[in-house]
Structure formats: C-alpha cells, structure tokens
C-alpha cells in the first residue's frame, strides 16, 4: 500500500536530534576533505566494541592455559590474577573466573541488566543485553547453547552464573585438544569473546575439521 510520500525529508531533518545532525555534518565534511573514511569509522567502532576487550580476556585465558601456577591464581582470585596482566576495571568490581572441564560447562548472563566484564571482554554484544538471552540462558541454557552451535553431552553439568554490579564472571574455556604446542599469541587467537561468556567453545587450531589430522 504505497502512496506518494515526498513531503517530509526536511521535516525529518527538523525532527532529528540537533546533536546527531551536528555529528552527521561533521562526518560529511571530514569525508569530503578526505580526512576520514566512513568504512574505517565503522571498523573502528566495531573494533572498540567487539575486539579490544576480548583480546585482553583472551590473553588471560591463554596465560592460564600455558601457566598452571597462573591458572591456579586466576581461579582462586580472578581480580588479582587479571590485574597481574595489567587489566582491570577502574570501577573495581570483583572478577570471578569459572573453569570449563569435561564435566562442567559454565555460561554467564546478567539477568538484571547487562553486567559484563568490560575491561577484559570489551563492550557487550547486543544479544547479551537482550531480554530473551537474559531469561532463556537461565530457563533453558542447553537450548540456548545449542542455538549458538554448542552441543553438550547430557552428562555435562551446565552452570549458569548471574553477573552483577559487584561480581563479574569470566569463563575459562577448556583448551582445545592438540594445541599444547602453541605459544601464547597463537592460543589467544583461538579464544573468542563468546567462549569467555560460555556460549561457544574456543576455536580449534585445525582450520576445518578434526578428521584430517596429521
């Protein structure tokens, strides 16, 4: 049911937040001067939102995989062990690290809002804040995990941790088999944000599948 509707582009501008207009105009002029590339701006926003934090968390996990003494400290006092690597929130909340094993799989949620270990995981993904994830991660975690592609044996105990303003949980995923020879940097590259929330496993070092191992 389309009707002609050509009257209001200017009206739309009038209704737009003046601050949004100002930033839009600023961007346009910077682009025209060749000072910024809008795609690069997108990439940078995404980088700050998605990549920067998880790299910190991935470093923590890789360190725990390669250094048993560090792993023990991390599980005993997450806040202090994470601070050893120079990461931590100015807000000073407590970090608790929960370890995935053959028998236990941990998942983190914040049922009240979107409490999240920002210094190590960056900005939370949008789904983490969704009411659906917040409710279903608690009521049907296995189903949620399945939707993320994480199939767990029925014998595995799924534990859901509810983050709060005072306590933030970080999952220490199990180290993928066959990666014991890798160095810290290579291991950190396998650790995804989602694996530290617990909804996915870390990446395998095999490019495709396990069937063709040497």
């Amino acid at each position: 049911m389309s009707h002609d509707h050509d009257h209001d582009h200017d009206d739309h501008h009038h209704e737009q937040d003046p601050l949004a207009l100002r930033v839009e105009a600023l961007e346009q002029l910077l682009v025209e001067r060749g000072l910024v590339d809008p795609q690069r701006v997108d990439a940078l926003i995404q980088h700050y939102e998605e990549d920067l934090g998880p790299l910190n968390g991935a470093t923590v996990v890789a360190k725990a995989w390669t250094d048993p003494a560090y792993r023990a400290r991390l599980l005993a006092d997450g806040t202090a062990a994470i601070a050893e690597l120079g990461f931590g929130g100015a807000q000073g909340e407590m970090m608790v690290v929960v370890e995935n094993t053959d028998d236990v799989h941990n998942v983190v949620v914040c049922t009240l809002c979107s409490c999240y270990p920002w210094p190590v995981l960056g900005l939370p993904p949008s789904w983490y804040k969704s009411p659906e994830y917040r409710a279903r991660a608690v009521s049907e975690p296995r189903e949620v995990l399945r939707e993320f592609g994480t199939e767990l044996d029925e014998s595995v105990d799924v534990r859901v941790w509810d983050s709060s303003a005072e306590i933030r949980y970080l999952v220490l995923p199990a180290q993928p088999a066959g990666t014991e020879h890798l160095g810290m940097e290579e291991l950190a590259a396998l650790v995804t944000r989602d694996s530290m929330i617990g909804v996915r496993q870390p990446l395998s070092s095999e490019p495709e599948k396990a069937g063709s191992a040497a």
Partner: protein, 112 residues
C-alpha cells in the same frame, strides 16, 4: 573475526576524563555518540589529531561546566565540543560546519 585486514590496531584510548559507564560498561545512549567516538578514533589513527589533544580539549570542556559529564548525553556533548577545539577540525571544517548546520537546521540553502 578477520585479522587479515591491514590495520585494526588503534592505540588504546585513554583519557583522564573517562566516559560514563553503567555497571562498568562504557555507555553510548544514542548512535551519534558512538559515531563521534569513531570519527575521533579515525582522525587519531591518521594522526590528524592525537589522543593527548583530545584529552586536553576534553578537560578544558569539562571545566567549562556546561554539561553534566556523569550522563552519556552530557559527556558526549562535551566530547563534541572538545573535538571542535582541535586544530584539524577548527582549521579544516569548522566554518563549513557552521554553514552546513545552519543550512540543515533551517532546511534551505542559506549561503552568505
């Protein structure tokens, strides 16, 4: 996650006047705020400005005290004004920005 794209390695942004957070998370409560942040980061990456310059300008704006920097809106308004103080913006685009804004806000061409 593709790490083969040449450079997604901007220097960490550290400012003495940190952005507002809710339960620890940095808060953008409108798209223009993250866009503004992205523009700043893009200019910093090209070395058209430095984070240190942003920091100084931001501190100066906070001291003016026109905005409540405890709220996302107030904080990012301060950031926007701080960006306007930076040399690259001031010399390259400021006068045109004023023109462009008056044109957009008035809704018709308004050349001087």
């Amino acid at each position: 996650m593709t790490s083969n794209e040449s450079v997604v390695r901007p220097e960490p942004f550290v400012v003495d006047v940190p952005p507002p957070r809710a339960n620890g998370e940095i808060v953008f409560d409108a798209p223009w705020q993250s866009r503004l942040f992205g523009l700043t980061a893009a200019l910093a990456e090209r070395e058209a400005l430095s984070w240190a310059d942003v920091q100084s300008a931001l501190i100066a704006e906070v001291q003016v005290g026109d905005h409540d920097t405890g709220t996302p809106s107030g904080y990012w308004q301060c950031w926007l004004r701080a960006v306007g103080r930076l040399e690259v913006v001031e010399t390259e685009v400021w006068s045109d920005l004023v023109d462009e804004l008056s044109r957009r806000e008035v809704g018709h061409d308004h050349r001087h």
